[in-house]
């Protein structure tokens, strides 16, 4: 049990929960009340003492209500060069008037419908999933029908505008039918300063031969505390790619879980964390190979300056039936300052014998010889460093297929590397 007594402090959240999904909510609530927030020694949250952080920064655990937001604010918040469709979440609640979506896609609020919330991201796996499931204010269901290819990306823009110290709990259910193709960009903006706790759960159900890309960029307020849970079921011949770019925040925890459920499925996870100040970013990924002939690739890279901290935990499970699995995982870190810390744990758990699995992880500095090479050609040291760091980060950015978003991210990374180093 953590120092935060769940009954007392979090009770406003649990008590004001809406009445829809009563069964799912009460099941999750029971789990949450029993588990509580992760304790100090909890293995999964060992390096990320989020309960302590919440206690310090969040004044009241009230669910943030939709705020007044204008279309100007939205226009201002959308990144430059963006071309695509838009979903606006106002403090976690879908705003239909500000959103624009192609006709093929059906979108609705998560009502007491046939949508089985909590069947992909199961509440027993993580206390924050349980908290979200028991008390999310309103959710969103997005469905891409069979054989539909949405060419332009869909930007899910979360506008989190609270009076400080409040909780936002977005809940999204995405379903991509067989042979469907779709790309999402998940970005949150925080127009006002102040601490904020965002606890997001995204469940993605990909059909046979579907292709889903999910890009997430975290560059909102310096004081935001964010827990993001993204879990997906990947069926036969389907492909799922996630790219997570973390640039700021107070404490950020990303849980990304991929369940490979059909043969010839493919799961890709790429991540870049470029941290300064006191930012703490924790990426926990989990790939579960349950069937034969599936493939997973993972590459996470981090550059850490000032007194930032980067945590990486990548788990690969290869079940007994999952013969002929290919699973690759890599994590590379560069520390730039005396006070920066990296905790990394690339974990493999393998029960099948006919597999190819490997993981690698490094922590180090820029190659002195490469630096010297550039300096010898008249590039000053600072610039040379920036160039090499950019090349290091670029390997992750290359996995973004949407050109506009890639340019935007590249710009942010270059700006950060140019100003900082």
């Amino acid at each position: 049990m953590s120092t935060l007594t769940t009954q007392d402090t979090l009770s406003p959240l649990l008590e004001t929960a809406p009445s829809n999904f009563a069964t799912a909510r009460s099941a999750a609530k029971a789990i949450f009340l029993q588990e509580g927030l992760p304790a100090v020694k909890a293995e999964e949250y060992k390096y990320t003492q989020i309960a302590r952080k919440l206690e310090k920064e969040i004044s009241s655990f009230q669910q943030a209500q939709p705020a007044d937001i204008t279309s100007e604010l939205i226009q201002k918040s959308i990144f430059e060069g963006f071309e695509g469709h838009l979903i606006v979440l106002n403090n976690g609640k879908w705003d239909a008037t500000l959103s624009s979506l192609p006709e093929e896609i059906s979108i609705s609020e998560l009502e007491d419908s046939s949508i089985p919330v909590g069947t992909i991201a199961k509440p027993e796996k993580d206390p924050f999933v349980a908290l979200n499931q028991s008390s999310f204010a309103s959710g969103l269901a997005i469905s891409v029908p069979k054989k539909t290819q949405i060419e332009q990306p869909i930007l899910i823009l979360s506008v989190n505008q609270t009076n400080g110290g409040q909780v936002v709990q977005p809940r999204i259910w995405i379903e991509a039918g067989d042979f469907a193709e779709v790309t999402f960009i998940d970005q949150a903006v925080q127009p006002l300063d102040g601490a904020l706790f965002s606890n997001q759960v995204v469940e993605i159900k990909g059909g046979h031969n579907s292709k889903v890309h999910y890009y997430k960029i975290q560059n909102e307020g310096k004081e935001s505390i964010e827990v993001s849970n993204i879990e997906t079921d990947i069926q036969k011949d389907a492909q799922f790619t996630a790219v997570t770019i973390s640039l700021s925040g107070d404490m950020v925890r990303n849980n990304l879980n991929l369940n490979l459920l059909g043969s010839n499925s493919e799961g890709n996870m790429y991540g870049l964390y470029l941290l300064n100040g006191k930012t703490h970013v924790d990426n926990h990924t989990n790939v579960d190979h349950t069937i034969p002939h599936a493939e997973s690739n993972e590459l996470y890279k981090g550059i850490l300056a000032d007194s930032s901290r980067g945590v990486f935990n990548g788990k690969i499970f290869v079940r007994q039936d999952a013969q002929k699995t290919n699973a690759f995982q890599q994590n590379n870190n560069i520390l730039l300052s005396e006070d920066a810390t990296v905790n990394t744990k690339p974990q493999l758990e393998i029960w099948a014998d006919d597999v190819k699995c490997s993981h690698g992880c490094t922590t180090g500095q820029l190659d002195e010889e490469a630096l010297f090479y550039l300096q010898a050609r008249g590039i000053d040291k600072l610039q040379a460093k920036g160039l090499l760091l950019y090349a290091f980060a670029g390997e992750v950015l290359d996995h973004i297929e949407d050109e506009n978003f890639k340019n935007y991210c590249t710009g942010l990374v270059q700006q950060r590397l140019g100003s900082k180093f």
Partner: protein
């Protein structure tokens, strides 16, 4: 496929070679664990008061501790009250030299292939033979004594060199370190003590051979190695136990202290009884091993070949405190049938320019689970430290598991840390290649496994390397993946 199964069958039904036991008259403590037992053991060994106090303090701390649950192993808990904490072969008087040691006891070691008779030795290896709770003989004591090297049983060291024991006991593994270390601190019975004075290079390998003979007895030995400035020693440890249906507990503590420019090499071939093919019986091997490179330019190297034990829980570690100190860990862990191993190392970089290297090779067969769990920690002031870790797993059969849990915690920007791991099986193409050249499948597997483990086996002293290679071939022949 049927041939493979047949070969596997043959292999799994293979008897544990050292499963016999001998009946001798034993001097035993009553069953159970309490302060009286500890006083009984201490009195039996004629220990000074300070050591008894130390034991009791450890015992009281231990009572407040919980058995660790984090390891990736499952086993029925040991009822510590049903164990015997002291069992020793009855000897009429303390043997001064080998001639006075009961020939029956010497015969036990002969049968294990360890000759304690100095004249018969071809190579110079000094052996401390520990049977259940006591050391029965230590060879070459005089030869070593001339160089100022102290090599004797722990009990003797307590009597003859109390100042050294007092200074170093618990200095590397504190009594409160963990559940099993605390238990060991409370009830440890015997073990080896080794002291290499300044500037001395130990001319022969020192070795301890542990043997559990009695039933219902836990073995809790304690080894302490102290290497003074600019000294060198290579230390070997071997162990076997009889085949019994119930599980037996082995909870040892090994402490190594290396002063400036000293080098200690510690090699283990662990071959405790692993349980039968249905997972019945076997030793629980819960061991705490740690060395400290206290002085600058010191070096500690751990090499282990783990083939036995039903459950292994063992993490030989190095604290790299001195600047420019070096820690090494080489391991081959083989699990078969229902064996479970959770083993690895910790490298704690504290000093500047410290280096560590980890090479771990896991081989899983049958229904076994093999885990590597390691930590590389680079502290803030450990600038220019360097680590390279490699942990590979080889799976034989589809019922076993291989797991890797590496923790890498870096707090210094000048550190270079690399970790890589692979999991694979023996390739059909590799076997085919050997077959083509007239090497039958069984030999091919032995060849490939030996090649796979070579990097570690090469680190073993010659005598051990031969034994380890034989053990590997024996353990794995026929397990064609």
């Amino acid at each position: 496929m049927s041939k493979d199964n047949q070969i596997l069958e043959e292999f799994t039904s293979k008897e544990y070679e050292h499963g016999w036991s001998v009946n001798y008259e034993a001097d035993e403590a009553p069953l159970g664990l309490n302060e009286e037992i500890i006083q009984w053991i201490s009195a039996k060994k004629e220990e000074p008061q300070w050591l008894l106090d130390w034991r009791l303090k450890a015992f009281r701390t231990w009572q407040e501790m919980q058995e660790p649950e984090w390891a990736n192993v499952t086993y029925p808990k040991v009822d510590l009250q049903k164990l015997r904490y002291y069992s020793a072969p009855k000897q009429n008087k303390k043997a001064k030299n080998l001639d006075e040691v009961d020939p029956e006891l010497l015969a036990i070691y002969e049968r294990l292939g360890i000759s304690l008779n100095e004249q018969k030795r071809l190579q110079g290896i000094a052996v401390d033979a520990v049977l259940d709770s006591v050391s029965v003989a230590t060879t070459f004591k005089d030869t070593l004594g001339k160089l100022g090297i102290i090599f004797c049983s722990f009990s003797e060291a307590v009597k003859d060199h109390p100042e050294l024991i007092k200074k170093y006991l618990g200095s590397v593994v504190p009594m409160t370190d963990n559940y099993y270390a605390a238990l060991n601190s409370a009830v440890f019975s015997d073990g080896s003590f080794c002291y290499i004075p300044k500037g001395v290079r130990c001319p022969m390998e020192l070795s301890t051979y542990f043997r559990i003979n009695a039933a219902n007895t836990g073995q809790f030995e304690r080894t302490l190695i102290v290497a003074e400035d600019e000294s060198y020693v290579s230390y070997l440890e071997g162990c076997t136990a009889p085949q019994r249906d119930e599980n037996q507990l082995h909870a040892a503590v090994v402490e190594i202290y290396a002063a400036a420019h000293a080098e200690v090499k510690y090699s283990t071939v662990q071959n405790w009884f692993p349980g039968d093919k249905d997972g019945k019986g076997g030793i629980y091997n819960f061991v705490t091993k740690r060395g400290i490179c206290a002085g600058d330019y010191s070096k500690i190297s751990w090499t282990q070949v783990e083939t036995g034990s039903a459950v292994t829980w063992k993490y030989p570690s190095c604290i790299l405190k001195g600047d420019h100190s070096i820690g090494e860990f080489y391991s081959v862990a083989v699990t078969n049938n229902y064996q479970q191993a959770d083993t690895g190392t910790k490298m704690i970089h504290i000093g500047k320019n410290t280096k560590s290297r980890i090479v771990s090779k896991g081989i899983s067969a049958g229904k076994s689970q093999n885990s590597y769990r390691g930590q590389v920690q680079v502290m803030k002031r450990a600038s220019n430290s360097r680590n390279f870790s490699q942990c590979d797993s080889l799976l034989m059969g589809d019922q076993c598991g291989a797991h890797t849990f590496p923790y890498i915690d870096i707090q210094n920007p000048t550190a270079k840390v690399e970790h890589e791991a692979t999991t694979s099986k023996i390739g059909e193409d590799q076997i085919f290649y050997c077959n083509q050249r007239g090497i039958d499948t069984e030999d091919a597997v032995a060849l490939i496994v030996n090649g796979y483990a070579k990097e570690v086996l090469n680190q073993l002293p010659m005598e051990f390397a031969v034994e380890a290679q034989k053990l590997l071939a024996l353990t794995l022949e026929g397990s064609v993946g």
